[in-house]
Amino acid sequence: MTATPATRTIRRVLVALDTSPSSMAAARAAARLASRFEAELVGLFVEDLDLLHLTNSPMARHVDLLTASSETVESLDVERQLRAQAGRARRALAQLADRSEVAWSFQVARGNVAAEVLAAATENDLVSLGRFGLSLRHRRRLGKIARALLAEGNRCTLLIERMEEVRPPVVAVFDGSEASRSALVLATEFAGPKLGAFLVLTLGENSDQLRREAAEILEEGDVTAELIDLGPALDSKVVNLVRRRRAGLVLPVGGPALGEEEIQGLLNQIDCPVLAVS
């Protein structure tokens, strides 16, 4: 493993919008990051093909959320509602971009939501999305799209639960993998030399080596940080540190110490912004 960290530049930040509170929080965080990296903010609204299929189906049964009444819904109605939703999402994104003074664009796609977001993710450097979206599954479980992005090894995925600032302090997990090196570089770029509190958690057998490597990256980024050794396996220490310091978490994905299950388990226990880097 080389000691030189891979540099990564964020030029386009994608945010998947569906007007849910969680996706609005993701849009805000995306705008903040776009501003920090002087990147373009790209909004994506996907018209869910499943919904359109559903309305054409003879067995479609729609229940109104506000009145609990059951009505037959025509596909034209759904299309109109989706357009209205897209319009709201576009306006919200425009406002955020104006406030953050970043360039922005907005796209509307039609198809399977996860597939469309994954496809769009390949053309962007960072994807910001709500952790739960409009999912009706258990709130603590990661949403379908988020899971797909992590599984597909998307380079940078920012997961946001609620409306809060993406800002220091930052806690970064470093396991020596390429992903963790990239993650640490990105964290230093985001934080800059003026960072108030930066905590690097080394995760792996060879803690001295990990500390040296991390220190090099930090030095390269002109950032000072506190280094704490987690040992070979992830435990509740990370959760406690993140909660106590109300910090944002930077996680490498696909490394030797952090499998999908570990990451899922970790995310289920915290509600702070998480940047997952592959």
Partner: protein, 822 residues
């Protein structure tokens, strides 16, 4: 009857003689304290203030300038200084009915204390609440509650989704709601795929979907209840946290205002309201309206509307009042009396609250005394009605004129009324007082005490000395130069001249005060330290000069012959009458030619002024009296058969008053008797049917008016004026007139009867009836009577022999009647 002699100079002007009162200047005199010459008014004011019964309010009236206002105010202030100071009046929010602000009546000075305490409380409240509601602990608990609610909803839906998943169905979120759809391999079946399913499967799926739809509806119907429960839990949390934060602060106030039950009740209400609205107070729970207001820039960031409700509006603060208040309202509009509710503009709408309630004069004066000028009060719309209503109900109720008259029904405040106590004093002139007494039945019930201020005082040696001390007081109060003894005397003499009475002194102190100030000015111009009689005279003359341009023009036109007036020779049926022009405070006399013409007629004395409606009723009355006099005195047994016309020559304005009636009679007698009247005289005086000459007004100005004309043409010793004898006591003539009389260049005769007057004017004896009832030959009365008899005879001749009446004809024989039954 002996002909009257000309008046002597000492009858024309009364000199002020201080006798034994020794002083050089007013500085040697002890200033007069209290009111001079107003025992009646003082007794009335004392009575009105002393009597503690309903309706015994005071109406102080008298001529303008008598010092009513100053005197009453000073008297009230002396009395009020020993009275108890009333308490403070405050309005506070009524948390139950916001449109009815509550009144707090607090001990003197405690209103301001409460206001400051509440301002401090509001500051501390927001800080305390802010930190309590911002605390980590509270936020965590609040978040937990919100999470619980969200989780509960999500869990219910997720469970339903999981259950549906087991049946091969997916619960989908649509833009407006939710729907179930069949899935296969984690993908939603398209309609085409669905149609390819066996019919049995399709039916089963549809059945399942219907069943889940009903379950979903059941779940959704529970959401509002869960939301209510969540809100209630949050409310309880807010309540507990807020109470813990604010209770010590409010308890501190409770202790500070121990013993004031109303304040304790108010503080309880404040506490309840703060707890109820804790979130709003610290801006956490902005109402949509507030948020919109702030977004549009209409709200005050530093003063949130919700915090205004805890302010204290101290309507009346008596903390620096000593004794009872004495308030003079110089602009007694309805709202300045009863108070008003102001409005402020917010987003183009006018809004108000209890903080915008403003006190009226009645609020400031309750428990003390309120002075109001009656004429101003009556001239302002609904002010008098508003004052009366407050006095009748003994309550000060703040409502707009529109509300009071039920003209408007817009939503406004109805502040709790304030009890009205104390006395109301109206100031005005006697006309206003008597008009109100006559036309407003309620007036007499509300103002039972009349304080009648006199406008004049007997000119006795004692009063003269007091008057000198009063002048000394005015001089000192206004820091004027002192007046020397002669100047004081001149002021007193002028005071009598102002009244046109040599036996009275004026109590119109405002005009005397003006004279003193002006004399002081002229003394200053002359670089004198003491005001002399010369300065006083200069002030009088300058005052006249400023106003007498019109008099001068008339005088000029007489001199130029535009206005015809003879001051020499004698003419039949023509006499110089005298009239007075009143221009504001300045009056002057003007001589006018009065002529009379007679001819045969039906006994009418025609007043040409009346015919053309240029005469007032009193003038017309005077002329009609002349007819009565002629008919009764001369040849009463024959019909009055003349037609006489009388006219004020070159009079183009109205004429009123009967002071020219004697002049008109002289002209008439001259015309009838065809005896010329000396034009060297001018005449004034009214006359009655018995031929007695009666007193008139403006004698001084009239004499001076004719004197000026004669002086301009040259005094020859023959000229003079006839005045009623009853007017001699009113004479306070100018120095030059008195001087001319002393030198025999001008004469003033005081006549009691027409006979005396006609003798002076014609140089002929008037004549009295002898034992046979005849007037002496060649006397005026004889000439008049003879002429009237001649006219009557002529009239009879013209009328011819009397026609015979039908009754005097021979009676016709009665028709015969047939006797029956004999």
């Amino acid at each position: 009857m002996a002909a009257p002699k000309p008046l002597t100079p000492d009858q024309l002007y009364r000199k002020c003689d201080f006798g034994k009162l020794v002083f050089e200047t007013t500085h040697d005199l002890e200033p007069l304290e209290g009111l001079l010459g107003q025992p009646r008014a003082v007794a009335a004011v004392e009575f009105g203030i002393g009597i503690e019964r309903d309706g015994y309010n005071i109406f102080a009236f008298g001529p303008p300038g008598t010092g009513k206002h100053t005197a009453v105010q000073q008297y009230l202030e002396r009395k009020a200084a020993g009275d108890e100071t009333p308490g403070d009046l405050c309005y506070v929010n009524n948390f139950e009915e916001q449109h009815r602000p509550k009144l707090l009546q607090l001990p003197t000075g405690r209103g301001g204390e409460l206001r400051r305490a509440m301002e401090r409380l509001v500051d501390e409240l927001t800080t305390g609440l802010q930190s309590a509601l911002d605390s980590e602990e509270y936020q965590t608990q609040r978040q937990v509650l919100e999470e619980q609610f969200n989780e509960r909803q999500a869990k219910a839906l997720a469970e339903l989704g999981d259950e549906a998943g087991k049946q091969g169905l997916a619960l989908l979120r649509t833009p407006a709601g939710m729907a179930f759809a069949p899935v296969q391999d984690d993908e939603i079946l398209s309609p085409e795929e669905f149609s390819k399913l066996p019919e049995e499967d399709r039916e089963q799926l549809e059945k399942d979907i219907d069943s889940f739809k009903e379950k979903l509806q059941k779940v959704l119907r529970q959401f509002p209840r869960w939301q209510r429960e969540a809100r209630e839990r949050l409310r309880k949390l807010n309540l507990e946290v807020s109470r813990f934060a604010i209770q010590p602060l409010i308890d501190e106030l409770r202790e500070q205002f121990t013993g004031l039950d109303d304040v304790q009740i108010y503080l309880d209400a404040v506490e309840d309201d703060v707890l109820e609205n804790a979130g709003r107070l610290v801006g956490q729970d902005k109402s949509p309206a507030q948020a919109l207001m702030q977004a549009l820039g209409g709200g005050e960031e530093t003063d949130q509307p919700s915090l205004r409700r805890y302010r204290v509006n101290v309507l009346v603060d008596h903390h620096d009042t000593e004794g009872a208040p004495v308030v003079y309202e110089d602009n007694p509009t309805y709202q300045n009396l009863v108070g008003r509710v102001e409005h402020i503009s917010q987003m183009g709408a006018l809004v108000t609250d209890f903080n915008l309630i403003k006190a009226g004069a009645l609020h400031r004066a309750t428990g003390g005394y309120l002075l109001v000028d009656a004429l101003k009060l009556l001239g302002l719309p609904y002010a008098y009605e508003g004052l009366k209503r407050a006095m009748q109900s003994k309550q000060i109720k703040i409502e707009s004129i529109g509300e009071a008259l039920s003209l408007t029904s817009t939503y406004s405040l109805e502040p709790e009324p304030v009890d009205l106590e104390g006395k109301i004093v109206l100031l005005g002139d006697s006309t206003v007082y008597y008009l109100l007494s006559a036309y407003d039945p309620e007036f007499s019930e509300l103002f039972k005490v009349a304080a009648d201020f006199a406008g004049q005082l007997e000119w006795s040696p004692e009063n003269q000395a007091l008057y000198a001390r009063l002048i000394a007081k005015l001089v000192r109060e206004d820091e004027l130069r002192p007046l020397d003894r002669e100047a004081v005397a001149r002021v007193i003499e002028h005071s009598a001249r102002m009244l046109e009475d040599s036996e009275k002194i004026s109590l119109l102190m405002s005009r005397i005060f003006d004279l003193l100030r002006e004399a002081d000015y002229w003394a200053g111009q002359a670089e004198r330290d003491v005001v002399t009689t010369e300065d006083v005279q200069k002030a009088i003359d300058a005052g006249i000069f400023r106003l007498d341009r019109y008099r001068e023009r008339i005088q000029e036109e007489i001199d130029r012959g535009t206005l015809l007036l003879d001051t020499s020779g004698a003419k039949v049926g023509q006499v110089n009458g005298l009239s007075v022009y009143q221009l504001g405070d300045f009056a002057f006399g003007r001589p006018s030619r009065i002529t009379a013409r007679v001819r045969l007629g039906k006994g009418e004395v025609l007043d040409i002024e009346r015919e053309v409606e240029l005469s007032g009723p009193i003038h017309s009355k005077g002329v009609l009296i002349l007819g009565g006099f002629l008919g009764a005195r001369y040849a009463p047994e024959v019909p009055l058969s003349l037609s006489a016309s009388l006219v004020f020559e070159q009079s183009y304005g109205g004429v009123d008053g009967d002071s020219a009636s004697s002049a008109e009679l002289y002209a008439l007698l001259s015309a009838i008797a065809e005896v010329p009247i000396k034009q060297t005289f001018a005449v004034t005086g009214s006359v009655n049917q018995r031929g007695e000459v009666q007193a008139i007004g403006g004698a001084n100005e009239k004499i001076e008016g004719f004197f000026d004309v004669c002086t301009a043409r040259g005094l020859d010793g023959e000229q003079g004026v006839l005045i009623p004898a009853a007017n001699v006591k009113h004479l306070m003539l100018r120095e030059d007139v008195v001087e001319a009389v002393a030198q025999g260049k001008f004469n003033i005769y005081a006549v009691e009867t027409v006979d005396q007057g006609i003798e002076i004017l014609t140089g002929k004896s008037a004549g009295e009836r002898d034992g046979d009832g005849e007037y002496p030959e060649d006397s005026i009365n004889r000439l008049v009577e003879d002429r009237l008899i001649d006219l009557a005879e002529t009239a009879q001749e013209f009328s011819g022999p009397p026609e015979k009446d039908e009754e005097e004809e021979e009676p016709k024989p009665k028709p015969e009647t047939k006797k029956e039954g004999s």
